[in-house]
Symmetry: C2
């Protein structure tokens, strides 16, 4: 496999507050062409360290991508470091200077003298236009290696990479990657269920990645082993069935949105412990107004009583965090909103407010439609943030499963 | 300043799906002792590359911290790479073996043969106990450098670092760091306003970090320049005034929550384009039920009319995204909920739904209390996600400013 590596440049990425994220995007596009990232280095705005990173990279990899350090300030040293490392001069590109000046003129500004520096290119390099900022990129083929210098901000870097760099990359044997995303199952359970398949893989790599309330399974194979991987994927589908919510990169809310759209059904939600997060996730999907009618965040008992007609004595008897209250929330919001489906979520997000009978993490999720009302009880571990997210995930998954029924 | 660097080991961090986050935690604790992280390297489970990373690190830094690669599998090669690099043998530590065996016995399990490898320590090293997993850490002082080998999972790494490593670090001159966080101002404007102060700094480093709808300003100085930095901080306070929402690490919703609590006021919200995000952020704060009464997500026009009594002809005349509708939403939710404050947010989150008169990113935020009703109009750039977040930020900031008035 062809080897690439990424050098991220910027002192802010050596603070406790920022990390490099550009490399994730770059890695994805490299992988699509069968190119493997073998190392990532993060250095500050420090010419000496950048030269050292380039030395190591040129020994190791055929493709070297630097992000950052192309701005107009004295801290921006990528051009200088590359020129020093390759032992070539920096040369003013008059055409490039014009295009930078033009960018400023367009906005009725005079180009500050500092920006002149951005028109300097290490000899032998080609400028890469930046349509979203003043820092041009640079492409250099040197010592039988390919070197790309890209700006740091993702909204400048990504379009430049897509438009002016990807076509310059070699194409190695493509990699076959099959993804499965699973909601509401523990990692160890998925791993165990898949063991009969994964233990027999020869050339296919199996990876399981866990994030909050979501498991990703990856099968990765060189093109020659595609058949083995596809065969394994077929078995994974049989084992996990509808617990897989997507084989792509969609979020759970995208999948639920597509199902609602396809079935031409509408939705309303009544949230207590999720506090609006469920509505937020549903409305993260562009076009969600086609199916999402409204929601209520009934955080107080009074709000539950007034807005959803939850009987006061039901709360007194069972508590606000209970199956009857969740059911009433789902049925009432559905009725008030005249939507096809209604969802209710009530629970204890913590870290305060738990009792021995009703501990932090106890959550009830209910779903009502014209045929059935369902309620599920969960005990979620973790922080307030995690419990809220997992509760919203449970609600979306309950919706998904209901919408998939014939 | 003393120099440290971090090597993160693990092939998963070279995929498009995972990145190193341990280094942020480590950087924070190093900085507290005046130690500066000068580089970070991420390599796969590859002995040769790890040796190469160690070679570079030992040239550059006095403190080298490796995370990951200490597990029991053949992929876990950190011990082997360190032994190869230092040219020392791996030696079985019988006491360590016993403690690993004990961990398994405790859970009624037999230690798999593979875990024996975790009791092997490069000669000259000291084992660091792991109270949260089977992989012990290692500390080695060699070639006048300090080398720490730590496990990859944060919940194993962090306690080990805190308990067994921090005390071994040298203490350099402590660093003085002053943070300011500012909402709803463009980075360039903050930078410009502060130029008279920042251009005169001698020993203090000024950094400005921008994320969505939030700017962070850092003043960083060695202890000897503390006075200069404090003097500059005083000037920053004067220039930015109440546009600074915190000098700590609180989120804007934490600050608003504290103000509501202190003033013993209650809050309700009516959201359209934010779709629940505002409620979600308010309820991310533990104890928010003390002041957050309820919210409505009036996504459809019908919901606005039915739940908030927005007059139908007001929507027909001004549109659902308009100042009168935002005002009505804020006033009505406040009245219905009988809270001290009410907030209304309506806008076009996009990417569809914009018109020349009402483009994507147009957002109205209104606030009502017993004395005043205010409404603000914004044009936010960016994606749906960004517009939703910025709108929620604007609402929280409007609340904050109102609550700060005498």
């Amino acid at each position: 496999m062809l080897k690439a590596e990424i050098i991220a440049i910027g002192s802010e990425m050596l603070t406790p507050f920022r990390s490099d994220t550009n490399s994730l995007y770059l890695t994805r596009t490299l992988e699509e062409r069968g190119i493997r990232v073998v190392a990532k280095t993060i250095v500050g705005d420090d010419q000496k360290e950048l030269v050292r990173a380039l030395e190591v990279a040129f020994v190791r990899s055929g493709i070297i991508i630097c992000t950052g350090g192309l701005g107009p300030t004295v801290d921006d040293l990528t051009r200088e470091a590359v020129a020093e490392f390759l032992q070539v001069p920096l040369i003013l590109d008059p055409e490039l200077l014009q295009s930078i000046e033009f960018r400023f003129r367009e906005r009725n500004l005079r180009m500050p003298e500092a920006n002149r520096k951005q028109a300097m290119i290490p000899q032998g390099g080609t400028a890469l236009p930046n349509h979203h900022g003043s820092a041009p990129g640079v492409y250099i083929a040197a010592r039988e290696k390919q070197l790309f210098l890209l700006p740091g901000p993702p909204f400048e870097m990504e379009p430049m990479w897509e438009r002016y760099c990807v076509a310059r990359l070699p194409q190695d044997e493509p990699v076959y990657r099959q993804i499965f995303r699973i909601a509401m199952m523990p990692e160890s359970r998925v791993d165990e269920l898949l063991r009969p398949v994964t233990s027999e893989l020869q050339e296919t790599t199996y990876t399981i990645l866990a994030s909050v309330a979501e498991i990703e399974v990856h099968l990765l194979a060189p093109d020659r082993a595609r058949e083995e991987a596809q065969h394994a994927a077929e078995k994974v589908r049989k084992i996990l069935g509808n617990r897989i919510f997507t084989e792509g990169l969609e979020r759970l809310e995208d999948v639920v949105g597509a199902l609602l759209r396809k079935a031409r059904r509408t939705l309303s939600v009544a949230e207590s412990c999720t506090g609006g997060l469920l509505g937020h996730r549903i409305t993260q999907v562009s076009g969600s107004s086609a199916y999402f009618e409204r929601g209520v965040i009934v955080y107080s008992n009074l709000a539950k009583i007034e807005m959803l007609h939850v009987p006061e004595d039901m709360i007194a008897r069972y508590g606000a965090v209970s199956a009857p209250v969740a059911i009433t929330m789902a049925e009432q919001i559905r009725q008030i909103s005249r939507t096809g489906l209604g969802v209710g979520v009530t629970g204890i997000a913590g870290p305060e407010g738990g009792t021995p009978e009703k501990p932090v993490g106890l959550v009830y999720v209910a779903l009502a439609d014209e045929k059935v009302t369902r309620v599920e009880r969960y005990n979620f571990p973790g922080t307030r943030e995690r419990i809220k997210f997992t509760a919203s995930q449970a609600a979306l998954n309950l919706l998904r499963l209901r919408l998939m029924e014939p």
